[in-house]
């Protein structure tokens, strides 16, 4: 019997999960750091992809949500003395509140006009970070202490890696559940046609707001984990260049697809490391590779999957190809 699509997918998922659970034991600290970074980017890209790829709302301020999460988590944990396991989700919640603040004016705008307002949000956030140095450390940045778990200090990068892996899996599961819920399906309808959504009695305004409120905590949690991993918050990291990099993650991976967020974020986190050998040419090579991928695969890396399936042994499936984006 030939393997069906679903069983191939399940086997693939199990293989990836097994790799992520077992292999890091045998790797050095540098790889723990790199894998953690990739997972953090996966969390972030997943949230952004829900907002942009599914609900169709452009955001150029995801690095700001990341910053909010990073500062909020650090403040709650280091200054207010709340345990890290509560501070991290609370940091995400704070980012969510800012998501509402941004989402409200954004409801009136669409397309590039929305993009520019999110850009304004980012600029204003940068100024706020610089002007409350008592909380944020201002332009000089802020050192972040490592938390402890059940009395063990998460000193090693391996321990922290497993925490990040757990959060990533939870985030991915959440996104998957959301996309298979009525709200998630409404995201896709609104992207394709707001008029159709209205005709189907979907509360367009509320669904758009939900998209912002969901996407922001993803970035906020990613920010909290990032600050903990690096041990330091540098406000310059949360500029527009970072936001644009996040958009590149999901475009290269595949818009509107969870697998796309994972593949795009992981590949583009690894790529600069792989290109280190090019020394001063590495950014040029990065741009060139990016361009090549987009020219060959305009629908992103996951756009490759249906094509590969078509090349492979013929499988009689009922719904092959129909939902390829």
């Amino acid at each position: 019997m030939q393997p069906s699509d679903a069983s191939v997918r399940r086997a693939g998922l199990a293989a990836v999960l097994g790799f992520l659970l077992v292999v890091p034991w045998f790797l050095g600290s540098y790889y723990h750091f790199l894998l953690s970074l990739a997972l953090i980017n996966v969390i972030l890209a997943t949230g952004l992809n829900l907002l942009t790829g599914n609900a169709g709302q452009i955001s150029l301020c995801h690095s700001s949500f990341m910053a909010i999460g990073a500062y909020a988590t650090t403040f709650l944990f280091a200054t207010a003395g709340i345990t890290f396991w509560l501070a991290l989700p609370l940091g995400g919640a704070v980012a969510g509140v800012f998501g509402v603040l941004l989402g409200l004016p954004a409801l009136r705008l669409r397309g590039f006009y929305l993009a520019v307002v999110t850009l304004g949000f980012l600029e204003i956030m940068q100024i706020i970070i610089e002007s409350v140095p008592s909380v944020t450390g201002g332009v000089r940045g802020l050192a972040v202490p490592r938390p402890s778990l059940f009395g063990f200090r998460l000193g090693s990068d391996l321990a922290l890696y497993y925490v990040i892996l757990a959060v990533t899996l939870a985030a991915l599961y959440g996104a998957w559940r959301l996309l298979n819920s009525p709200t998630g399906r409404a995201f896709n309808v609104i992207r394709v046609s707001e008029a159709a959504a209205q005709t189907l009695a979907m509360p367009v305004t509320r669904v758009k707001l939900i998209a912002f409120v969901v996407a922001a905590p993803y970035a906020g949690m990613a920010g909290g984990l990032f600050a903990t991993l690096v041990g330091f918050i540098d406000p310059l990291e949360f500029g527009v260049a970072t936001s644009i990099r996040h958009v590149i993650f999901i475009v290269v991976g595949g818009l509107g697809s969870i697998a796309g967020s994972v593949v795009g974020a992981a590949a583009l986190t690894a790529l600069p490391e792989l290109l280190r050998g090019f020394k001063e040419y590495n950014e040029l090579a990065y741009g060139g590779l990016l361009l090549l991928v987009l020219m060959v695969m305009p629908h992103g890396l996951v756009g490759l999957w249906p094509a590969l399936r078509r090349l492979g042994p013929r499988v009689h499936t009922r719904a092959s190809g129909g939902n390829a984006r």
Partner: protein
């Protein structure tokens, strides 16, 4: 604030505003004409400045010849960009094209950085740095040159689009590609021409801004301001892009003077958000009728 200082601020604001306006105009022309948001526009500015630098220092050309030759080569580069990048991606999703232009911008920036390293260079202009005294006003002649050149270029473009047959053909393509093609307009050639003009405008901005901010690999960052200016004006309106650019420049100049350096941009962005909340399609944009 005295009248003189106010006027001086206005002139400084208008000069940097003309740069924003030119870059925004390039963005809007390309978007209106071909539907592509070109995020390499900032690097086209950088490229223009470096071509002029090369022609001025290595080829020893005088300023005006270097300026003219720069515009010509930028036009040629625009055509290459359209043929090599935009046309092959004609059927790709919009996001893919935007990121592809971003990648091209990244490559241009890094090639320039490899050649010129991190040095900040500048072009010698025939105007010098001595301030010009007009009554009680003291004005940097560079500012007047920037404003004059930009306005001149915009006027030429306005006449071109309004009166020439080619200009009208380009507007027809922007309005309705299928109908334009049926009228015998070579749509592909108009696309290439649109990108050529867009690149020329960007290169002009690069040459003009070089003496004010210096030539370095990161000067393409101006695209963010230009994007904001274009949106402020209404992204479909070239006039709006020009007005938006000038307005943003003046707002920044006065915002900086009143509230200090770091709030310069906050003031501009806060106003931008307020304006967009009142007019979601920019100052000169029209609400598009959406088909159901």
């Amino acid at each position: 604030m005295s009248l003189e200082i106010g006027l001086q601020l206005a002139i400084a604001g208008l000069s940097i505003g003309s740069i924003y306006a030119l870059v925004a105009l390039g963005l809007v022309l390309a978007f209106k004409g071909t539907g592509v948001l070109n995020f390499a526009q900032g690097e086209l500015v950088t490229l223009g400045a470096y071509i002029a630098l090369f022609l001025g220092t290595f080829a020893q050309l005088p300023y005006h010849w270097a300026f003219l030759l720069t515009l010509l080569s930028a036009g040629a580069f625009g055509v290459v960009l359209e043929r090599g990048l935009i046309r092959p991606l004609a059927h790709a999703p919009a996001f893919t094209v935007v990121v592809a232009t971003l990648a091209v911008g990244l490559m241009i920036k890094n090639v320039l950085r490899l050649v010129w390293q991190e040095n900040v260079s500048t072009i010698a202009t025939p105007f010098g740095d001595a301030p010009l005294a007009i009554g009680a006003l003291r004005v940097n002649p560079q500012y007047l040159w920037v404003i004059g050149c930009s306005v001149g270029l915009m006027a030429v473009l306005a006449v071109f689009f309004r009166s020439s047959l080619t200009g009208k053909a380009m507007r027809a393509v922007a309005q309705n590609q299928v109908a334009a093609r049926l009228m015998g307009i070579p749509v592909g050639r108009m696309f290439a021409l649109t990108f050529a003009i867009s690149a020329v405008v960007a290169a002009a901005a690069g040459v003009l801004v070089a003496p004010l901010i210096g030539i370095h690999a990161e000067m393409g960052g101006v695209i963010i301001k230009a994007f904001v200016a274009a949106i402020l004006g209404g992204f479909h309106s070239p006039v709006g892009a020009v007005v938006g650019g000038m307005l943003l420049g003046v707002l920044e100049a006065f915002g900086g003077a009143y509230f200090g350096g770091i709030f310069k941009e906050t003031v501009a962005f806060t106003l931008l958000i307020l304006i967009l909340l009142a007019r979601p399609h920019g100052l000169f944009g029209r609400a598009e009728a959406r088909r159901v």
